[in-house]
Point group: C2
Chain length 225, copies 2
DNA sequence: ACAGTAATCCATGGATTTATGGAGGATGCC
DNA sequence: GGCATCCTCCATAAATCCATGGATTACTGT
């Protein structure tokens, strides 16, 4: 009655693992995971943010739910989706890292999306050093709701769409360190371009909130609605 | 000329990530990765070990290769496949872990394959403690070629198919700690059943070579052909 | 109860993927 | 060269996945 004699059960187990792999097998679903890694959202907020038809978004979310990657919470008439755990974010981040390192199509696609030259960067350690020694503003350029859901302690929130109008809120002579969702998020790239065009000293953080959270660094939450 | 205006490039980047996800989206491919995590192998060795048609195995290996997960080495007429890096093994291991934690179909499939009750286990730390204090034999029950490709230092190799015949090679009164490929490998389960049925004190290691290697613990290689 | 909003369910056509046979390269041995 | 071995490439049929529109369910407010 050795388990290895009962063939087919092995395939069932590996197919079950593969079901989780399938959840990662669509660009749209990965975009949704990327958004969810910033905090919970309703279905149509997700659909809009990802540029998806509502029914399509819902279908993808069902797939993610069946893989156990996301959980839901009902609040009145709307349903909020969130990641089922930090390990899911970790898996997502690792997939991107491994893909970039090993798959030849990723670096060019990244360059096309983020720009050939992202300009100078600063690491998390570098950021900490700057904060301790210098006159630094940490700027979060994600949408306000994502900032509220969790941000780097001490960071200022100016969503990138409002940045041109609200640039005066930033002190003239400070170094500005900009961050957004994660390593592959455009927002910080765009923001740094805008700021340097206007003569500010702005630099991008290496990565973003996703990696910050996964490193178990402290996260501040604004509980005001 | 903000990157965010050039829509479609974002989709291209995420589709590129998804291409790596797709490589993880088939049970057969995951079985192949599981085998490759133990060391390099030729195509038809892989096909046989995974119970696949040669052409099917070759096709799956091509997809893995396109995702950059595996690399090849030609030796005369045969081609050896191997994992492209430790990060791939890490991704594979994390996928299984996340799947087990979050996907409801995994635990029953695991139980059906490995047995409802796997009996007692010992962790890596527990193993180290036992080795230091007691009379312990560490037994590797994987196929000989996998043992040769890398094993726990000091471990004895008796492939599980030969175990019934070679049981006398194990000292009568020693505690036996059995391990194989990884957390979801049957071999150690089968071996422990066989050994305890014959009156030996055998216990299973928590996980196996995959996790051992990923923990950066020392690995011995037998370079004899 | 009724209307309205949010999300899921269902059916469908179009695109991908999968397994498998057979043909086609590459390499080594004689 | 001729031949065998190992593997990849190609073509195909079955199965699966994807996006979308229309219907249905779940809940709120009046």
């Amino acid at each position: 009655m050795s388990a290895s004699t009962k063939s087919g059960t092995k395939a069932r187990l590996y197919d079950a693992f593969a079901a989780s792999g399938k959840a990662l097998a669509s660009g749209k679903r990965l975009e949704l995971l990327d958004l969810l890694a910033q905090g919970e959202r309703t279905v149509d907020a997700l659909a809009k943010a990802a540029g998806l038809n509502l029914t399509t978004a819902s279908a993808h979310l069902q797939t993610l739910k069946q893989a156990g990657f996301v959980a839901t919470r009902r609040e009145g008439v709307r349903i909020h989706y969130r990641l089922a755990g930090d390990d899911v974010a970790q898996l997502f981040a690792l997939l991107r890292k491994v893909a970039e390192r090993h798959q030849t199509t990723v670096p060019p696609a990244r360059a096309a999306y983020l720009g050939e030259d992202g300009g100078p960067e600063v690491t998390r350690e570098g950021l900490r050093a700057r904060v301790e020694t210098g006159d630094v503003v940490v700027l979060d350029v994600r949408p306000a709701e994502e900032y509220r859901a969790g941000h780097i302690p001490g960071a200022v929130s100016i969503p990138v769409e409002e940045l041109a109008d609200r640039i005066d809120e930033l002190p003239e002579n400070a170094d500005i360190v900009v961050y957004c969702r994660g390593e592959y998020c455009v927002l910080a790239y765009d923001a740094v371009r805008l700021l340097t065009d206007r003569g500010r000293r702005a630099i991008r953080l290496n990565d973003g909130m996703l990696e910050w959270r996964l490193s178990k660094l402290p996260v501040d939450v604004s509980d005001l609605t």
